[in-house]
Structures are given as structure tokens and as C-alpha cells.
């Protein structure tokens, strides 16, 4: 990670200050985190509650300004107030609760909100709103009221609202945590498509291992420090290490890990269910052949 990344955090220290107490209590959440994300990457950030993963994401969006260290987005420092709108336009953020991030009473109006704030020409807003809604597959619902939509649909509207700004990067802070399995799938597919087809850099904060396994890179944060950083195939086989910090691994990886512990001969770097089924099937075939012989 030598070259300057698209999102770049260097030795970031961040603490929340509780001012209601006397003297104010300082709670340091990030202890010198360095992370670099290249353009077009799909990074999943894992960590249990309170590990600082959301705090880090908010640093990339200039919502949190680090106490020390620097955060740059496309070369712009988040400490530079002049660049605030530019940074937020470049790195959009989607939050956990879809209800609390939709502003307007009609889907398309909400989608237009960011562009209206930026003072874009009305005809251009119209064009980009339609495009964004089509991208997330919510165009038919453009005249609906948000409260009548399902969780997954609302979250896709929220993504469209960010997408309309044409950001180079989208930060998603546990976007699927409040959704049912179907909604989760809809949102994940949208995210993956954005990354693959439009080359949008994705930083996905999650605690669903199956979602993280779909990313191209996984970063594990624990206690305000980066613990692991690599491809899913490098990270997930380290089952013991992940379990020691209270995280799970994808079910397929866990199954293979347990089988390996019992002495079965299986590859360790299995992360998807298909691979797992294939490997286990191979195992059965081999053992039945051995029995025949």
C-alpha cells in the first residue's frame, strides 16, 4: 500500500467527548488507524459493536474530524472546511436505519434532495434522479411515499439519493442490519452491481460474514485498531483469531474448519457455500471410491 490511495487515513486518532460530565470525559475510539483504499475497490470492514468501524467510516465523510493524523479523500483533506461539500459529494454515506435518512415525502423528491442542495440545474436533477432510481431498480416507485415501502426498498432509495450525486465512493454503515433476508439480498446485489458496472468504490461496514465474503478485500477492526487486512480468502481461514475477538466466519468456512480439525482433507480457504458443497461432495466421492476398492 505504498501509492496514495483514493481514501487515505494516516495514524487517525479519534475520540468522542462527553461534555455532560465534569470534567468532560474523553473516550478514545480510534488509536492511530491507517487505511488506504484504492479507487474501484470493494472493501468490507468487520468488527463487533464498539470496535470503531462506524467512527472510521464517518472520518472518510468529514462527519468526524480526527484529533490527530490525517484523512484524505481523492487528495482533499477532511480538515479543510472549504472542501467539505466536495468531499461529501465524492464519498457519499448510507446509514443503517433507512427511515432516518429519507427526508422528503415522495421517493423522487428524496432522491433529488442532495442535488437540490448542491444547486444543480432542475433539468439535470431530473435526469440524474431518473438514472439513479433506475440503477437501484426503484424507478417504478418514484411517486410512492417512502413509508409505504419495504425496508430493502427504502434502503435502495437511500442509496439512489447518494448515487444521484455521482460519487466516486459510497460508504455504507451497516446498511442491511435492519432488513429482512430478502431486503439484505436486494441491497447487496445493488452494491455489488454498482461496484462491478460503474466502478464505484465501496466501503461496506457490516457484521454479516456472508456479506463480507462477497467483497474483494476485508479489513478487521478491533478495539480501535486494524487487526487484519486482506482478501476474504486470506482472512476467513484464520478462524481462531476471528473467534478470539468475538467475530464469526461464514458458515461454509466454519464447517470446513471443523471438518479439517477432525482430520478431513479439505482446502482451508473456502468461503462460499458452493465451494463448500463441491469440496464436501468430492470428499464423499473419494471415500465411497475407497470403499469400493
Amino acid at each position: 500500500m505504498s501509492a496514495e490511495g483514493f481514501l487515505e487515513a494516516k495514524n487517525v486518532v479519534f475520540s468522542y467527548v462527553n461534555e455532560s460530565e465534569e470534567p468532560p470525559v474523553k473516550n478514545e475510539v480510534l488509536h492511530g488507524v491507517s487505511l488506504s483504499v484504492k479507487k474501484g475497490e470493494f472493501v468490507a470492514v468487520l468488527g463487533h459493536n464498539g470496535s470503531g468501524k462506524s467512527t472510521l467510516a464517518k472520518c472518510f465523510n468529514a462527519i468526524n474530524i480526527p484529533d490527530s493524523g490525517t484523512v484524505t479523500v481523492a487528495g482533499m483533506s477532511t480538515a479543510d472546511e472549504e472542501k467539505l461539500l466536495e468531499i461529501r459529494k465524492t464519498a457519499g454515506m448510507v446509514f443503517q436505519n433507512p427511515d432516518n435518512q429519507i427526508v422528503a415525502t415522495i421517493v423522487e423528491e428524496d432522491c433529488a434532495f442532495a442535488l437540490e442542495n448542491l444547486g444543480v440545474e432542475p433539468s439535470e436533477i431530473r435526469r440524474r434522479v431518473d438514472e439513479a432510481l433506475k440503477t437501484v431498480g426503484m424507478y417504478e416507485y418514484r411517486m410512492h411515499a417512502p413509508h409505504k415501502l419495504s425496508g430493502g426498498q427504502k434502503q435502495r432509495v437511500a442509496i439512489a439519493g447518494i448515487l444521484a450525486m455521482k460519487p466516486d465512493c459510497i460508504l455504507l454503515d451497516e446498511p442491511t442490519a435492519m432488513l429482512d433476508p430478502r431486503g439484505r439480498k436486494e441491497v447487496m446485489e445493488t452494491i455489488k452491481r454498482l461496484n462491478a458496472e460503474q466502478g464505484v468504490t465501496i466501503v461496506l461496514i457490516t457484521h454479516y460474514m456472508e456479506e463480507a465474503a462477497q467483497a474483494k478485500r476485508v479489513v478487521v477492526i478491533d478495539g480501535g485498531n486494524i487487526l487484519m487486512d486482506g482478501t476474504p480468502r486470506e482472512i476467513f481461514p484464520q478462524v481462531e483469531k476471528l473467534k478470539s475477538i468475538g467475530l464469526d466466519v461464514p458458515q461454509a468456512t466454519e464447517l470446513v474448519w471443523r471438518l479439517r480439525q477432525r482430520g478431513y482433507d479439505l482446502p482451508a480457504d473456502i468461503i462460499t457455500e458452493e465451494e463448500c458443497a463441491e469440496a464436501v461432495f468430492g470428499l464423499f466421492k473419494k471415500s465411497s471410491r475407497e470403499r469400493v476398492l
Binding site: 427526508v103 415525502t105 436533477i125 447518494i162
Partner: protein, 269 residues
């Protein structure tokens, strides 16, 4: 379910009235109210009634909706009618029983006042039937925008209205959930004296307030993330367009106002 309530009374459609610019509708509604109060005799009011009926027909709003808008004000209408009927003592006697005296003038005034109130409500509810809350908020923001010069935070007010409209269903749904949660914990919300019922509301409102503040904070962050920085330099996706329909609407209204004025003058002389 609480969730199913419709917001405002908007009745979607594609009539010329629906297509009119919300600003014009707002101004013309005010003109309509002025017209009703200008009418000095029943002929003037009759013109007002014809106008209301015709507008209703043009808007293609079902007449049952008309009744729906009158229903809540029936007590007020009755009160006005009774008051005028019994307390106007001038004119020819129509009916007398002990201390009750009804005169023809009293009857006239009662009918006049009642029709005026009914027309007022029916006519102005047409505005909310044919205009979505969003358009209405927008129209109010634009009509009030000259006040910005005097330091009135017009944009902030309109934004507050929009957010309130957006969150009413969400908070209603949440109230529903909290009520069910409290019922599951054995709180009795529907029984007991009035005092008990009021007391029973406390465990509903406190969680609701707490969650509203949390929502407000999250929404503020989300708005910041979408580059919200107040009304300055803001554009709007939907531009309000003044079309020929709006001018026809103005002429239509002007004809009726002229009719009312004419009725006033002719009957006087």
C-alpha cells in the same frame, strides 16, 4: 392500523384543477373566501354556491368527499343556525310558542350564515383535495419568499413542514409498536378512569420522545452527508410552471367575483 391514515386529504387526479399551479390555487382560495364575505345577500351567495358546485364538478372529486369535509363542522353549523333563528327578533312573526319567537328575518339570516360557512369549508377543502401536501408546502415557501428580506426563515419553515409530513406516518407506526409493547407488559391503556388513561399514556410518550430525538440526530447527520447547508444556493427539481390553465382559473374566478359584486349593487338599488 394507525399506519394506514392518509396524510392530508389529497385526492389524486388529473383534472384542470389538479394541474393548476399550487400558488394560484392558494391565492384563488383566498379570493374565494373574500368573495363569500363580500356577498351581502342571498343572490350573491347563490353565485358562490354555483361556483363551488361547478368547481367541484370540474375537479372530479366525488361528492361524498364534500360531505366528508362538512361533517366535522356540523356542530358549529347547528349552533350558528339556532343562534340566528332564535335571537333575531325583527321582521314578521312566523311562529310563536311561549318565549320562542321565530321571524322571517331570523330564518333568512340563519340560512344565509349556514350556507356561507358550508360554502367556505367546502370551497377551501377543494384546495387540499386537489393539491398534494408537498406542492402546498412548496407553494407556501415560494409565496412567502419575499419575507426573506425581513429575516423570516422561510426556507427553514418549509423544510420543517416537509420533515414533519415525512415523519408523521413513521412516528405513528412507532407509537403503535410502543403501545403493543406496553400492552404485552401488562399495561392497561383502554380501561380505567380518565386519570388512569392519561397516566397510561406516559409510558408511551416517553419512549416516543426519546426515539424522536435519536431520529432527529440521525436525520441531521444524513442531511449533512447529502450536502445540506440551508436554503442558500438551493435549486428545486420540480419547477412550478404557470400555464394557460392558471390564467383561465383566474378569469373564471374573476367572473364569479364580478357576479357577486353585481348582485350586491343590483339588489341594493
Amino acid at each position: 392500523m394507525l399506519k394506514d391514515i392518509t396524510l392530508g386529504q389529497f385526492f389524486p387526479g388529473s383534472s384542470p384543477i389538479h394541474k393548476m399551479d399550487a400558488r394560484f390555487k392558494l391565492i384563488l382560495t383566498v379570493a374565494f373566501i373574500v368573495m363569500l364575505f363580500m356577498a351581502k345577500n342571498k343572490w350573491g351567495l347563490l353565485i358562490g354556491a354555483v361556483f363551488t358546485l361547478m368547481t367541484f364538478l370540474i375537479s372530479r372529486i366525488p361528492f361524498t368527499m364534500m360531505w366528508k369535509s362538512i361533517k366535522p363542522i356540523i356542530p358549529l353549523v347547528m349552533f350558528t343556525a339556532v343562534l340566528n333563528l332564535f335571537f333575531v327578533k325583527t321582521g314578521e312573526e312566523l311562529f310563536k310558542w311561549k318565549f320562542i319567537l321565530i321571524t322571517d328575518e331570523g330564518l333568512d339570516t340563519a340560512i344565509f350564515m349556514v350556507s356561507r360557512i358550508v360554502l367556505l369549508i367546502v370551497g377551501s377543502s377543494l384546495l387540499t383535495y386537489t393539491t398534494s401536501p408537498i406542492d402546498l408546502t412548496d407553494a407556501i415557501e415560494r409565496l412567502l419568499s419575499p419575507l426573506k428580506r425581513f429575516g423570516v426563515p422561510v426556507h427553514a419553515l418549509a423544510m420543517m413542514m416537509t420533515i414533519a409530513l415525512r415523519f408523521i406516518p413513521t412516528l405513528l407506526e412507532e407509537t403503535d409498536k410502543i403501545m403493543n409493547a406496553q400492552k404485552a407488559r401488562g399495561s392497561e391503556l383502554d380501561t380505567g378512569s380518565f386519570r388512569d388513561k392519561v397516566k397510561g399514556m406516559i409510558p408511551i410518550f416517553i419512549p416516543l420522545f426519546v426515539s424522536s430525538f435519536r431520529r432527529a440526530e440521525e436525520l441531521a447527520t444524513a442531511m449533512e452527508c447529502r450536502c445540506y447547508h440551508g436554503g442558500e444556493g438551493r435549486t428545486r427539481m420540480k419547477q412550478l410552471h404557470i400555464t394557460y390553465i392558471d390564467w383561465i382559473g383566474c378569469i373564471y374566478m374573476a367572473i364569479f367575483i364580478a357576479g357577486v359584486v353585481a348582485a350586491n349593487i343590483i339588489i341594493q338599488s
